[in-house]
């Protein structure tokens, strides 16, 4: 069983279908592919926005994501994982982030994709700033996202920032 994993941070758009196809090409043990795409919405907290700008902590962001990909590979029987997260200015309708997970069975692919997205939302060092008609503001972290990430923590292995 060969496992392929890729983590990429980039300013440019990505091609999620091409990335998913790369993970399954030439192998016949893949039975399930889950692709998550996060898109920039046209409003934030009920107000229309012109754009999002994503700031990140270079070096730490890659390391954090790679660490969580490694954890996903340990927890589930995955054949491949690709995570691509954009930074910089992104306008409504554009993709922000993609996660692809490949496994022989669907439960592992779904669980790993959700796990990675929950962690990206709460632990990867990215910050979203929104441009609205009346200026720019930073997006507040959501308690719901923290709760979603927390459900993956086994007792006694809670992460530092989740206190």
């Amino acid at each position: 069983m060969t496992t392929s994993s890729t983590v990429r941070l980039q300013r440019e758009p990505f091609d999620a279908a091409a990335e998913a196809a790369k993970l399954t090409r030439g192998r016949t043990d893949a039975g399930a592919v889950v692709t998550f795409i996060g898109i920039c919405r046209g409003s934030e907290a009920g107000q229309p926005i012109a754009a999002l700008t994503l700031e990140h902590y270079p070096g730490m962001a890659e390391a954090e994501i790679e660490r969580h990909v490694a954890e996903a590979l340990e927890r589930w029987p995955l054949l491949g994982v690709t995570v691509i997260h954009r930074y910089g200015r992104i306008v409504p309708g554009e993709d922000i982030v993609m996660v692809v997970t490949v496994s022989s069975h669907r439960q592992a692919a779904f669980a790993a994709a959700e796990f990675l997205m929950d962690y990206l939302k709460t632990r990867a060092p990215f910050w979203k700033q929104v441009e609205k008609a009346d200026g720019t503001t930073w997006v507040d972290a959501k308690a719901a996202d923290d709760a979603a990430a927390e459900r993956w923590s086994a007792p006694g292995r809670k992460h530092a920032a989740a206190e």
């Binding site: 700031e55 902590y57 922000i96 982030v97 910050w127 979203k128 992460h159 920032a161």
Partner: protein, 83 residues
């Protein structure tokens, strides 16, 4: 010691990073935040509510009680909003 700031912490402090001589009595991340807050109006504003600020030492998340001894780079930032 290299200190980095991100998002609104960076905006309030007014710079993305700086090299600082930290007094020897400052031993933990929480103490470092309290000491930084005393350095001027912009720092006081940035660290006014230290409970919401997250920290990383050498690019790994740490709790406020983490020791800063031996740290090469300490970063302060708001809760993450990626994904």
């Amino acid at each position: 010691m290299k200190i980095r700031y991100f998002a609104w912490v960076r905006e309030r402090v007014g710079k993305p990073e700086e090299d600082i001589e930290v007094p020897s009595g400052v031993a933990t991340v929480a103490e470092l935040m309290a000491w930084l807050a005393s350095r001027g109006e912009e720092y006081a504003h940035a660290f006014a509510n230290p409970k919401v600020i997250r920290a990383a030492i050498d690019r790994a998340h740490v709790r406020p009680d983490a020791a800063i001894e031996n740290a090469g780079e300490i970063a302060f930032f708001p809760p993450m909003t990626g994904g």
